[in-house]
Symmetry: C2
Subunit: 253 residues, 2 copies
DNA sequence: TAAGATTTGTTCGTATGTATC
DNA sequence: GGATACATACGAACAAATCTT
């Protein structure tokens, strides 16, 4: 039976896409590392037996994924490039653009992860790193006078968390936390949140950040975790008051 | 002062990249949704005053990010496309290809997130969903007889977690958990892990999965969380025995 | 089944831009 | 500044896929 295939749903990948895959494979087979040079256009044309236009489209595909970079001129060409954290966040943001994320969803994650991060960093940061965090936490010592200033304070607070995530040795944990900070920052910047700022909660949040730096300095993992957990609970309250679905934006780059 | 700009370090984005950005903006301005049609090639050429090749390269960039899909023929053209979870995972995997992730890193995350997922699903799954999980958990009732079978069991176990993550209403939480399951699956498939399988730990893990389904069915969030936490601790032990850096592969699609 | 229409897919030739020497 | 080695961009032609009649 079934002598004829029922034409399986074959999306028929175009030639540039196939060539892009072949190039990837070519790179993997040769175990090329970041910075290594790929064949130039004319060599690619011979290698994969396609025209220049097709090669170029394939290169754009790889470039869009951050896998290669290209330079013109002598000594130029295409090179294996390391995908940057920033680009990875952008590509991921494109996905969540189509999802229906709520503030509550993000804070469910933050409550689970940020205390973990805090605990794992206790006693492992250098003086410089601690000082930098201290500086970030000490910005905006005065209560906000305007909605605009309120917004700046919130962005600064998120920057504190993003910086903290940079210090994590666990790249996955750090990335996810930084990604959430970015989403919340975009949300804060693009929207006019904060009609009725809750001064008291903000003050407590800032106090938490300072306490956290102290705990990190003292190497007290348990206290760092508890402080962060408390901080997250407060921040969540603050955000939930402004319950909003995340802005759908065709984000880029 | 500064009558002349000091020519900031401008990487000079190529024309296709700029056009891709313009198209994105064009789409956002018109608030196009998934499935909406974009102008065809010739219209794009007029619209952005570039050649056909440039338009096509720009389209490839957007396509590589999953933002558009393209079909040939009458009624064909380019359409706004929803970024699939699978593609998002692939793009993210490209980033972590260049990072140095350890088993311990992933399990630090799993221990924090999977119990949270379990708790949030308690009492919220349909009979069908619970039965499906039960079926997944009941596969491989016999202890593994070979390393190959051992591997299959591990992959099946990860499939259980991946399926569980699909049911989460928190898309971010679900995505991150599914992503980790995928990384671990790839790791298991591509590597010959499991020389000395620990039968007892595996049995306990399978028992945990069944207990978890029971707790979910009973709507007992606390028990679901505790069971999952215990399960993660066991799985971590099992994996750490095979401490390995994650395979570096130029992953794709 | 077949022909025609529509739209993307692919190639080639040529010219221009850019960075290095 | 000129030569060189690359990528970049354009335009015209043709091929392939797919829908309609």
């Amino acid at each position: 039976m079934d002598g004829t295939l029922p034409t399986p749903p074959k999306p028929r990948r175009s030639r540039p896409v196939r060539v892009a895959d072949e190039i990837k494979q070519w790179v993997v087979e040769r175990d090329l590392k970041q910075g290594d040079k790929l064949p130039n256009e004319t060599e690619m044309i011979d290698l994969f037996a396609v025209s220049k236009g097709t090669v170029r489209e394939a290169m754009r595909i790889l470039e869009a994924q951050g896998l290669i970079v290209t330079r013109t001129g002598p000594g130029g060409g295409s090179f294996v490039g390391k995908v940057s954290a920033d680009r990875a966040k952008s590509l991921l943001a494109n996905y969540f653009y189509f999802q229906d994320l709520s503030i509550a969803d993000i804070y469910q994650m933050r409550k689970a992860l940020e205390p973990e991060l805090a605990a794992s960093l206790a006693g492992r940061l250098s003086e410089e790193q601690l000082d930098e965090l201290q500086t970030l936490a000490d910005r905006f010592p005065e209560p906000a006078h305007s909605a605009e200033e309120e917004k700046d304070q919130h962005v600064a607070s998120l920057a504190f968390h993003a910086r903290l995530s940079d210090f994590s040795e666990n790249r996955l944990l750090g990335f996810v936390i930084a990604f959430m900070a970015r989403i919340l920052t975009d949300l804060t910047v693009y929207r006019r949140l904060y009609q009725p700022p809750n001064i008291e909660l903000w003050q407590r949040g800032r106090a938490h950040q300072r306490q956290l730096v102290d705990a990190l300095r003292a190497g007290d993992a348990a206290k760092a975790r508890a402080t962060m957990a408390s901080h997250m609970a407060g921040a969540e309250q603050l955000m939930k008051a402004q319950e909003a679905r995340l802005k759908r934006q065709f984000m880029g780059e």
